[in-house]
Symmetry: C2
Subunit: 239 residues, 2 copies
């Protein structure tokens, strides 16, 4: 038995159950765009985030004092909601000290799935803070890629590879082919991730919807955040 | 809509249902070792192969004239069976014109899963024949990686990438990130696949069991086969 802390990478939430062990820390990854939005919102002062699965549940919070509600489906914002799933919406004084209620196609579903676990969220904005947190916790790690409607996607896997590389440099180990594959994909894409992903499915989807600026920001953010969002009592809070 | 023939790669049989469309040809891939064994057995004269899921079903054929039964679980041969899951067992005059009944941990399960589809099996032994067959059929393709007990594995994905590259060079297209990822992994591993896979989970498993020769042969076979095994009436037959 290898006694080192292990990294496993779950490439689709559809088989999270196979990885779930109630011991590891679960890191939810939805680079385009939910976990990038979560990092951005905390960075700009949101107090806490309630991830919910249905639009209706989110709407129940609408109009309540100090709440903002945000929703996205199929990459598009939804009428009747204060915000969508673009990080730029949250670079805004209005979000300060608010509770954000948030539902998206993939990211919030993955967070919900990991609700009973020690769970955090990660993006290129807080990758260093997340790596340090994991190294300090000294627990094994499951990198849960949100993907797109259950399908594998490149950007989440590549991010998992970058985070895994940092952990492998700091005493973690892996015997998991998904993690190795993610590390390789990170290594060959690191010089210019935006170009590398030009053929990828979700980049194409966002390009069609004129969301290129969102993509650029999420892959190569203009600021870093020290905040590690942690699930507690079904809410994400700042550590 | 892109009218080109599409390639999709299903990285784990656990989510085959999401890909299954009853139109595409399904290519089952279990490089270490089931689909390599299937290619070898046909090359050495086996008449047909009946893939079955349970050891008991396989044993029902034992002792019948012109049948041989083979089984593997957790990479090990099983007592009471004529053959295991090593391709070297089948390089043998005894297999000629026989019906092989075959059950393995991953490969035969994936074949069973695709039983209702137009399904073939592929390995490095018959990759060129398979590519030509698919190009001639002019149907979209699902590359079904058998993996290991539902988990992603590197060797099946890399093989899918090599096969996908041949199809992409011949008029096929893909909008699927699993296929792109597989192509990238193939590109960076092609020079020396055996060394590249030295850290991979299944190579380690077989190494522990002294099955290095099997691995070397499956990744870099000493002969090529023109035979494309096709499912028909729940049997694999030579095309």
């Amino acid at each position: 038995m290898n006694k080192k802390l292990q990294i496993n990478t779950c490439l689709s939430p559809l088989y999270f159950e196979k990885y779930s062990d109630n011991k590891s820390i679960v890191v939810v990854i939805d680079i385009l765009r939910a976990t990038s939005v979560i990092s951005t919102a905390f960075h700009f002062g949101v107090k806490e985030i309630i991830p919910v699965q249905s639009l209706q549940t989110a709407l129940n919070y609408k109009g309540k004092e100090n709440f903002i509600v945000a929703a996205e489906r199929n990459a598009m914002p939804i009428e009747g909601f204060d915000f969508g799933n673009s990080p730029f919406h949250y670079m805004n004084e209005k979000v300060k000290e608010k509770t954000l209620v948030f539902t998206t196609t993939n990211g919030t579903k993955s967070i919900q799935m990991a609700m009973q676990h020690h769970t955090i969220t990660a993006s290129f904005i807080n990758i260093d803070a997340v790596a340090n947190y994991l190294i300090n916790q000294q627990k094994s790690v499951i990198l849960l890629c949100a993907g797109w409607k259950g399908f594998f996607n490149l950007e989440d896997s590549i991010f998992a590879g970058k985070l895994a590389s940092k952990l492998l440099d700091n005493g973690f180990a892996t015997t998991d082919d998904s993690t190795l594959s993610s590390v390789y994909l990170h290594q060959i894409s690191d010089v210019d991730l935006f170009s590398f992903l030009s053929k990828s499915s979700h980049r194409k989807r966002l390009k069609t919807l004129n969301m290129e600026e969102d993509t650029k920001f999420c892959l190569s953010p203009t600021f870093k955040s020290d905040i590690v969002p942690v699930l507690q009592d079904e809410k994400l809070i700042k550590l």
